[in-house]
Each structure stands twice: as C-alpha cells, then as structure tokens.
C-alpha cells in the first residue's frame, strides 16, 4: 500500500482520531456484494504439537489402547465406530453431529524434522521446506484474491503470526482498552510515520481496527472484562489457566468471548473475511491428560464463540484447526508423548459439506507407523488448505500450486469439502 495515497485506511485512521464511526466511510467503499464476498475462512493454529490421538481418539483401532495405555482418552464423544472426539470438545462434537465439523486424522506438513519451530515455519509459510519463504500462505492467498475483490485479513493476538505476514498489510487485534478518540497523538504519529514503511501502515491499520472494535465487541459485556485474557508471545497465542479446576470456567468464558469478538469483527460490513488465531501450550511431554484437558477445553470454547458469534454468517464460514506435527503413537516414560509426525486437523463451518473423515486412516499397526513411532501421514496439510481456498474462497488453482503454496502441484487440493 502506498503510504502517501489518501486511501480508505488513511481516511479511517484520521477519522478515528476525530471519533467518527467506521460505517460512514466503510460502506460506500465496499465492493458490490456477492456470494463470494461473504465467504470467510479462519485458521486456528495450535502450537506445540497437538496430539491428534487425543483430539480424535481412534476408538475403533485395536492398537490404540495398547499403545497409549493410561493415556488413552476415557469418555470420548463418539463420532462413529472408528473415531471419537476428546470429551472436552463438546461444541465441536455438537457441530460434527450436525454435519458441520469433520476430522482429518492423519495430516502433516511436508516437514519431517520433529522440530516445533521448523515445523511451525513450514505450516505457516506454506513452503515445501523450511527457510524458503518469509511470508505466510494466508497472506499470499489474500494477495491473490485482492486482484479480484476486496479481502481484508486479521490476526488475533499482540504479535503477528507468520501465516499472515507478507506483502498485504493485515490487521491485528487483541483485547485491551479503547483508544482515546479525543487524543491528538494518533494523528500526530500518522504524520511522523508518513515515510516509515513499517510503522506507518501498521498504525493506520491498528487504528482502523480499533474503530471497528468498538462496534464488533459492543455486544459483549463491557470492554473491561476482555482485559483478563492473557496474550502469549510468538504468534500471539492465548493461554488458558490449567483447567479444569477453579478458574477453568473463567478461562472458558474468556476463550468464548475471544471467539465471539473475532466473529464480531468478521460480521462487520467491510470487516475481515480471513482470520488467524493461535493457541499455545500443546507440547505434552509430561502430564498429558491434564494438560490437554485444559487446552482442548480452551480450544473448544474459542470455536464455540466463533460459531455463536458469527450467527447467520456461520453458513459462509470454514474454520481450519491445525498443528505443526502430531506426537508419538506410544506413550513415553513420563506420562506424555514426544514429538511425532501425523496429527489431526479439524474442519468446521456452516459452509462445510457433511462427510466422514478427510483422508485415509493408516491404522496404528506397528508396520503402519511412520518410522515405527508416529501416526503415518496420509494427507499433505497443504492439500487440505488448498481445497478450502479453492472451492470456498475462490482462489485460483494455478496460483495455489505456484505462489500460495510454492512447488506444491503434487499436494492435490482435497475436493468436495464445501
């Protein structure tokens, strides 16, 4: 974006300084409405290597209990004879029963190094290997779409996740107190940043989002309550206190509110239609059962909030939940599991076609495990993302193969998801 041009964003940011409302400026600037303009996609990144065998326990697999022993999930919520969902995933389960949530139980990125940081980079950059690009695939998807229609993207959290970094200036938001609309400082800083390629666009975008936040979060009970949600670090993850236990309900409520706030932005006219949010803390080397109880309850509440908050827009939405890698099929010696390969992705949304599992289940037989250790991936994660971007968001297939996911022609888009 040209920092000098009197763009809509510039006007909005100026408007924010004078306390004007967003809609006055945003509505005339919007492109003509069409079905495609309303399509929304949300990517939820679960950092730390989320254990797929706990998210969606393969209860029909005869090896599951033997491999997991005491870590086999008790009281899972059945989907069919073969798979169930973790008991904390009650909202996801209800959606699955309504045909609005599916699991992909054996997905992986192309990375096999079992390093959190390398695998997260590959997951978010969309590259075939590590260090080959410094922008995120979701940003490049927005860039591609922007040639045809206005598409805005937003990340939730204080820091910018790699998945949304790139050429397109995206919004970011985290809970906090409102900007003082009377203060001169925002306008003065806009002027001071006019030649600053980093701070200029970022501040303009931030002020625009703040203006929108006043409307988007108005229905929630008071902005002050949002302050209790804590932000994480890299990738802006949010962390719930360990749950269940005292405080667990508070954590769940905060998580649900966070999901509702995100949904609030996405329901705004001219609001983002592409969003990313990340949750930390899934690295379960020890004490896995209790740790995942807390994390999955938090995830479920965020997703519940998104679903409830989107209301009539849910039917236009697909939510993808993914992690950098799965964990070892066997329990380790310390009540947890170590870094593995294949994991479970979740797909949710009113736009989703009902169906069974996405991709094949390789089974947990010893000779089926990847390197005699991990769930063997049967589906390239990029194929999952590409299927949603192509059929739901209308991203050009050639661009998906070449620029959004470079050199990914072999990772075919999963068809018929929407």
């Amino acid at each position: 974006m040209n920092a000098f041009a009197p763009s809509r964003r510039g006007l909005l940011a100026t408007a924010a300084g004078f306390g004007l409302s967003l809609q006055l400026l945003a509505v005339p600037a919007m492109a003509a409405d069409s079905a495609l303009n309303r399509k929304k996609v949300i990517v939820v990144i679960c950092r730390g290597g989320m254990d797929g065998l706990s998210v969606a326990p393969p209860i029909g697999d005869s090896e599951y209990h033997g491999l997991r022993g005491g870590l086999a999930v008790e009281g899972a919520l059945p989907l069919d004879g073969a798979f169930a969902l973790h008991p904390q995933l009650t909202a996801v389960h209800a959606l699955a029963k309504a045909g609005e949530a599916r699991i992909a139980p054996a997905v992986a990125t192309p990375d096999r190094a079992r390093s959190h940081f390398e695998a997260q980079d590959v997951l978010e950059s969309g590259a075939a290997g590590v260090y080959s690009t410094t922008s995120g695939w979701l940003n490049r998807a927005v860039e591609t779409l922007s040639a045809h229609r206005k598409v805005d993207a937003m990340s939730v959290g204080a820091t910018a996740p790699l998945i949304l970094r790139g050429k397109v200036q995206t919004a970011s938001w985290s809970p906090g107190r409102a900007v003082d609309a009377e203060a001169r400082l925002p306008t003065l800083l806009q002027d001071l940043y006019r030649n600053d390629p980093l701070l200029g666009p970022a501040l303009a975008r931030g002020l625009e989002t703040e203006t929108m936040a006043k409307v988007a979060t108005a229905d929630l009970d008071g902005g002050g309550a949002m302050m209790n949600v804590s932000t994480g670090g890299k990738g802006g993850g949010f962390k719930a206190g360990a749950a269940p236990g005292p405080g667990a309900q508070q954590g769940r409520d905060a998580a649900k509110k966070l999901g509702e706030s995100l949904a609030g932005f996405m329901r705004e006219p001219g609001g983002p239609t592409v969003a990313a949010i990340s949750l930390d803390g899934f690295d379960s080397h020890a004490g896995q059962a209790g740790l995942l109880n807390g994390r999955l309850a938090y995830l479920d509440a965020v997703l519940d909030g998104v679903h409830q908050g989107l209301g009539p827009e849910w039917k236009n939405t697909v939510v993808l939940v993914a992690t950098e890698f799965g964990r070892t099929a066997r329990a380790n010696g310390t009540g947890g599991t170590d870094h593995g390969t294949g994991s479970t992705a979740l797909l949710l949304g009113g736009a989703l076609k009902p169906g069974g599992i996405v991709g094949d289940w390789p089974t947990l037989k010893q000779n089926a495990l990847f390197e005699n250790r991990d769930v063997a991936p049967t589906l390239d994660m990029r194929g999952l993302f590409k299927g949603v971007l192509a059929d739901h968001m209308g991203v050009d297939k050639a661009a998906l193969d070449a620029t959004v996911f470079p050199n990914s022609a072999t990772a075919r888009p999963v068809a018929n998801l929407v």
Binding site: S115, V179, A202, R205, G206, Q250, G333, T334, G336
Partner: protein, 503 residues
C-alpha cells in the same frame, strides 16, 4: 564501512548495545564509545538484580507446599460435595485479582499462592529495576540475550517460580566466561531440568525401570525417583527426549547442525539419571544424578562414542556440543541478529564465529569482537525494539524506575511479552515482523500516552529527546516534539518516534 562520527557512535553505543540512554549517559559515552562498552565486559559475569534472591531450592520447596495444600483442599472439597476433577498445576502467577476471593485469607492454598506470585513479581521487578537504572547497560543486554537463548518460562507453572533464581544462578555468573561452562551450568540446573521435562526421564533398561516393571515398584518404588513418580506410579518409566532435542536444536548446533532422531534419543538415554533431589535426602530442588535411573551402556551421539560412565556422559556430550563449529555459527548468528539486524551482515557473523572458534568459545572475546566490529555500527538502526526493550528504554529516557510490578505486568502482557512467559523454549522473537503488528503499535501508543502523563510533569521534552537520542534524533521528530501542545504529548511523541522505536 565508514564509522559514524563520535556523537552518533555514542548514541548507537547506548541505544543499540545498551538499553537506551539515561539523561547524561550519552555524554559519558562520547569520548570513547567503544571503550565505554568494553569496560562493561567483565569476567565475573553480569550484575545481579537488587534485593535478596531466593534460591531455586527454596522456591521449589514453596511450590511443593503449595501443591500439597491445594491437593488436600481439593480432597476436602471432594468429600464435601461432588467429586472434583483432577487438575494439574494452576498457575499461581495467573491467580490475580480478577479471580473472585473464594475464601478468606486463612486459606493456605491462597496464602502460598500469594507468596509465590509476589516472589515471581519481585524477581521480575528487580530485573527491570536493574535494567532501568544500571550504568552498565551493555552488560545487562548481554545477560538478557543469554537468558532468552536459554529460555525457562513460566508457561510451566513450577518453572515460573524459578526463572529469577535460574538466571541468577546459572546465567549471570557465566555470560562472560566460556560458553561450555555456561552450557553446563544451564542444562544441569534444576529449573531447566524441570522446564524441559528431564526430571522424570528414566532409562528404559535401568535398574529403576526394571524394578517397576517387575511389579515390585508399586507404591514403594516411587521413592526411587525422588517422589517424582508418585502421581503416576502406574505407568512404566521411560525416556523423555524433550531436553535432549532442545539442547541440540535451540541451545547448541541448531536444527541444521547435523544430528538425527537417533542422536536425540541417544542423548536422552545418556542424560537419564539427571534429575532433582527428593525431600527425604534433603536435596529437594537441587540437581542430582541417580545411577539407578540411568540407562546403562555406551552411547553414540553425532558419531562420537561415550563410554559407560553414566555420571560423566552428559558433561562429555555437552562439552563436545559446545565445541562444535556448528554451535559457534548458530549462536553467533543469533548474537548478530539480536544486536545488529534481523538479517545481519554475513561478515559480522563470520567475524564473531571466527573469534568464538579461536578463543574456544570465550564469551568475553566474542563480546569484545562484537563491539569492535565495524558492521555493528551501521548508522541505520536495524532493530525494532521488543516490548521489554521499549518499556525499559522509556524508563531510562525519563530517568525513572518502575515503582511496582503492578505497573509492568499488564503493560508487557498487552504488548505480547508477558513477564517471564516466553511462549516456547525458543524464547521471545527478536524480529520486527513479530513485534510491529498493528495492534501492538496501537498498544505501544497507549502506553506512551499514559506513561508520559505520569512521568513528565514539568520537564522539557526537547531536552529529554536530546538526552535520549542525541545524534539519532531526526529533524522531523524534533520538530514534532517542539510543536507539541503539552509536555506529555511531546514526550509521548519521542517514545513513539521511529528512531526511539528502533535501535
């Protein structure tokens, strides 16, 4: 590369290498900017934060009591009403005022939780106080670099209680010594052993594991592992490879350092037995080696064989990792990225790596090489401040210091850098792209507004700007400050100026 003039070099010295200028600091650095930094390097290590620090062992004992009390309380409650669920580790640092008071002050769980929370807040507050006031800010930045390189994070509740003691005991004394000694102190420290799950890792064929497998260990056997296994005595003890992997990937050779999954597993086997002491041997919260939990036999890690002396295997492997050229290359790349630019000049990395290898990883030599390197003095600032750096440098610019953790915690959390809570063992991000998100800039602006109103009062923001940035102050910013309608507005413009946000 032509070196900048003396005034500009002084400004670079105190902002890029230090933690931002205090009033008067630029003048102190002016006559010899490089010498100003070099005199801060000292073999005895970094400064210790003010106050009376607790030891790691004391903190761990406190946390143990907290858990014990809480377990008892839960059992009582379970007896009273319906069964309570099996929670693990509620975070004392998270139990803030937002939580409704369940009971009165007599509640022992709440009491110990409060003490721990205050301890953690005091540790962090002392560290910020040191950073905000020290005359040797390069020395402190150097220590902070290593604390982040060897992250222990409060994202694991028990680890949060010992981040402060860990930095004091394992990091600060060694940051200008040999890297190998720093590495050894860090990886065998109870805080790191706890944070990266080493304490429960047991050799699958060790006497201790055999004991449990044979069914003799139920109940009684738990004591063999210093009580670590008490809650989970049902399972077969075995390996946990978390620490082994992160030592290689994050602390030494790096992810492209040439190791395999087999090397990770072998290293994990070698480290079995390394744990923390039990209550009954009076060594709770200190590092111990338990021969009976050690995986017997010869280990091969990165093509080197380590003989069967279990007690020495870990130290030998760590020493070999510390000496590898991949380690020098990886860590020097990080030093250059931290101090100079997100994408640092290769010549600088090569210069540091060379100094590292020639000196056997002598961090005094590496620090001196960094200060002398012409590539490190590019007049264009290559780094965007992290929230911690921004807050600390704001206090320094104001000549102020935080009066309480209450001021700091919420601010840093809202800026994405919750105290002592790096999101992963990789530590905090260092790059502009991570920290300059739109929301983050808005929140920095909000901090600058509030902070300026509280600290400036009758002081001249033009003078504060000259004191804080010296030759780095641009005409645009100077003009904006001069035109400000109030002193706080002028100071807020200084803090948010492009050149103050960078270093």
């Amino acid at each position: 590369m032509a070196l900048a003039n003396q005034d500009l070099m002084a400004a670079i010295a105190v902002t890029r290498f230090g933690l931002g200028a205090k009033p008067g600091e630029l003048a102190a650095a002016r006559s010899d900017p490089q010498g100003f930094l070099k005199t801060q390097i000292r073999r005895t290590g970094a400064d210790q934060p003010p106050g009376q620090p607790a030891s790691t062992a004391q903190r761990m004992a406190e946390f143990r009591d907290f858990r014990k009390e809480r377990r008892e309380e839960r059992l009582e409650k379970a007896a009273d009403t319906r069964p309570a669920s099996s929670a693990t580790g509620a975070d004392p640092a998270m139990m803030d005022a937002a939580r409704p008071n369940r009971r009165e002050a007599a509640d022992p769980v709440k009491q110990i939780g409060n003490v721990l929370r205050k301890d953690i807040a005091a540790d962090f507050g002392a560290r910020v106080e040191l950073a905000a006031t020290t005359d040797a800010a390069f020395r402190e930045r150097w220590a902070l670099f290593w604390a982040n390189h060897f992250t222990v994070s409060a994202t694991k509740p028990i680890a949060g209680t010992v981040v402060g003691p860990f930095e004091a005991e394992a990091i600060r004394p060694h940051v200008f010594g040999r890297f190998g000694d720093l590495l050894d102190a860090v990886e065998t420290h109870p805080a790191m052993l706890t944070y990266l799950d080493q304490i429960q890792s047991v050799g699958p064929d060790s006497p201790a594991a055999e004991f449990v497998k044979n069914g003799r260990g139920r109940g009684r056997g738990a004591g063999l592992f210093g009580g670590q296994l008490q809650q989970t005595a049902q399972r077969t003890p075995g390996l946990n490879e978390n620490l082994a992997r992160e030592i290689m990937e994050l602390h030494t050779v790096g992810v492209n350092g040439g190791y395999t999954q087999a090397d990770v597993t072998e290293f994990a086997r070698a480290m079995t037995g390394l744990s923390i002491g039990a209550e009954r041997d009076g060594a709770y919260g200190t590092a111990v080696f338990r021969e009976q939990a050690h995986e017997p036999g010869v280990r091969t890690v990165m093509k080197v064989r380590y003989d069967g002396d279990g007690r020495r295997q870990t130290a030998q492997i760590l020493a070999d990792l510390a000496a590898k050229p991949q380690t020098a290359q990886f860590v020097c790349g990080k030093i250059a990225r931290h101090f100079v630019a997100d994408d640092p000049p290769p010549a600088l990395v090569a210069r540091l790596t060379d100094a590292w290898m020639r000196s056997g990883g002598d961090l005094t030599v590496v620090a001196e090489t960094l200060v002398s390197a012409p590539e490190a003095w590019d007049p264009v600032p290559g780094k965007f401040k992290t929230p911690y750096e921004f807050i600390v440098s704001s206090f320094r610019a104001a000549g102020a210091q935080p009066v309480g953790f209450q001021q700091l915690g919420p601010i840093l959390t809202s800026l994405g850098q919750k105290p002592f809570s790096a999101p992963s063992p990789k530590g905090w991000a260092e790059d502009a792209q991570s920290w300059a998100a739109p929301d983050a800039i808005v929140k920095r602006m909000q901090f600058a507004q509030t902070f300026s109103q509280n600290v400036v009062r009758d002081r001249d923001p033009k003078q504060l700007a000259a004191d804080a940035l010296g030759e780095r102050l641009t005409p645009d910013t100077a003009k904006a400050i001069a035109r400000a309608e109030s002193r706080p507005e002028g100071f807020a413009l200084l803090l948010m100026s492009p050149e103050f946000q960078r270093r």
